[in-house]
């Protein structure tokens, strides 16, 4: 409802003649451009290329981040050595990794994956670490008296107990990965949604730019609604932590 009103206002603004039409394309133009992009395959192809990069980079970040966070929470040595480094790197905007990536990997697929991983890994690491650190020691003692040891203790107790925190880290990591990817693609990479945005700009085709933006927002919403919100609802149900 709110969205419809917004679109109507936008339409009215673009038709009012207050702005030059090439700066504020009407929603109808954007929709037409979107339809065109979808039917001629450029947008679906861009989505596929971007999502593939995201999937690879994010998977690496997820496993690496959870493992690193777990290690840092349980080992004083790792915490002392990597702790400050991770916190410091986490505050580094992901696009700052791009120059290094380009020098190390050249204009390649690896460079963009590197940026995505560097951008999201540490958010997941930090959330996992704090989650594991906050697991009540009582759970560990209860598990130990029932015979849990070593890897079992990590897999069956520490990780599930830290899941709510890990989940928020995963969410944050996903957002960071997405942003790093778009930034990287905008600046140089071939294919992908970021590049579609860039070509739209070069052609001065604002309707096209906005169409791609709509596609990006839609992807974000879908991942949120279909993946994260569902997982979180399940966790909430189990733990009995209600939205208050």
């Amino acid at each position: 409802m709110f969205l419809l009103a917004l679109v109507a206002a936008w339409e009215a603004a673009s038709k009012s003649g207050l702005f030059q039409s090439w700066l504020v394309p009407s929603p109808v133009d954007v929709a037409r451009s979107l339809g065109e992009g979808i039917s001629n395959g450029t947008i679906p192809r861009g989505i596929l290329i971007s999502l593939r990069r995201l999937a690879i980079g994010y998977s690496v970040s997820l496993f690496g981040g959870v493992a690193l966070g777990l290690g840092m929470a349980r080992s004083v040595w790792l915490k002392d050595t990597l702790g400050t480094l991770v916190v410091g790197l986490q505050s580094l905007p992901s696009i700052c990794w791009l120059p290094i990536a380009l020098l190390w990997f050249g204009l390649s697929e690896s460079a963009i994956l590197f940026v995505v991983i560097a951008g999201s890994l540490f958010a997941i690491t930090v959330a996992t670490e704090s989650g594991v650190r906050n697991v009540p020691p009582l759970y560990l003692r209860a598990a130990r008296v029932m015979g849990a040891r070593g890897p079992q203790l990590y897999l069956r107790v520490l990780l599930p107990a830290a899941l709510p925190s890990i989940l928020s880290g995963m969410r944050l990591g996903w957002t960071f990965a997405w942003r790093s990817l778009m930034a990287g693609e905008l600046l140089y990479a071939s294919g992908g949604l970021g590049q579609l945005l860039q070509t739209g700009r070069e052609l001065g085709d604002l309707a096209r730019v906005m169409a791609v933006m709509v596609a990006i927002v839609a992807l974000g919403l879908v991942s949120e609604v279909l993946v994260f919100a569902r997982i979180e609802a399940r966790v909430r149900e189990r733990w009995g932590t209600d939205r208050t």
Partner: protein, 285 residues
């Protein structure tokens, strides 16, 4: 069955060191239901943790069936003050947790889980999540979880301290029944003397930190079962044992269980003749 020999344990925190146990010796025989009573912070939980294998003594030995305890083991089930159930698992999965660790086969696991949940009256809640249960129900599940591993020894650390009177009474009755039917060795830590007297076949009274054995009273011959906390004999004996705790002159005294039992006098009159005795009371059963 369980033996402590000259066990000492000191904890170091930022605020300094605390001597929880200092050269304590104790023997608990197979099939005993020993209640350890003492003021809060007297080291009784430390003692239980040592037997559970969650802690190691600084000096001295802790033995189970003659072998030194080096860590937790499935022969010793533990119940904590809080239920310590895992919130990410259902009631059923909580009970199964230890069985999975012990690599019990699936069918056996399911049937044991079912059996012990039925025993504690929680079978209806097998699929429930922990947050849906009341405190008493959680402790029931925790009891089923400890029993499911079929340990010879059950260690209980003030498991009913946080419950309302009714749940506590029901759970006490349940534990007494389980002990009577299975003959498990139970070590039960509490600060509630009436609870100790109601449940134990022997009550060991510990003094303030570092914990020392002040009295060890064999109850089995004194009080018939079933007992209840408001029964007159239980109340009187509890009051009497408590009096000893407050009276510093009696701090060193220990009631010789055998003597009082043979004399056959009223429990309330007995402690006055208490004499310093062997703290390493064996098992007169």
């Amino acid at each position: 069955m369980i033996e402590l020999r000259q066990v000492s344990k000191t904890f170091t925190t930022t605020r300094g060191t605390t001597e929880a146990l200092s050269g304590i010796s104790l023997a608990i025989a197979r099939g005993e239901f020993v209640c350890l009573v003492g003021p809060s912070g007297c080291g009784k939980t430390t003692l239980l943790n040592l037997i559970a294998g969650l802690d190691q003594p600084d000096s001295g030995e802790v033995l189970a069936s003659g072998a030194p305890i080096t860590g937790p083991g499935p022969d010793r089930g533990v119940m904590f003050q809080e239920a310590a159930l895992f919130p990410w698992l259902s009631v059923e999965q909580n009970v199964e947790f230890g069985l999975k660790e012990q690599r019990v086969r699936r069918r056996e696991r399911k049937s044991r889980t079912r059996r012990f949940l039925e025993l504690v009256g929680m079978a209806r809640f097998a699929g429930a999540f922990v947050h849906e249960l009341s405190g008493g129900m959680r402790q029931r599940v925790a009891l089923a979880r400890a029993l499911a591993l079929e340990p010879e020894i059950l260690l209980m650390d003030e498991p009913f301290g946080a419950l309302d009177a009714r749940s506590r009474d029901a759970l006490q009755a349940q534990v007494a029944t389980i002990w009577a039917h299975t003959g498990k060795t139970i070590v039960f830590v509490t600060h509630d003397m009436a609870e100790a007297v109601r449940l134990g076949s022997r009550v060991i009274v510990l003094g303030a930190r570092p914990a020392r054995v002040q009295k060890s009273v064999d109850l089995e011959a004194l009080l018939p079962r079933p007992r209840s906390v408001d029964q007159r004999a239980v109340v009187e004996l509890a009051a009497h044992l408590k009096r000893g705790l407050d009276d510093t002159d009696e701090m060193e005294a220990a009631v010789d269980a055998e003597e009082s039992h043979d004399a056959g006098v009223e429990p309330a009159a007995r402690g006055d003749r208490a004499r310093s005795g062997d703290h390493r009371l064996g098992v007169p059963r």
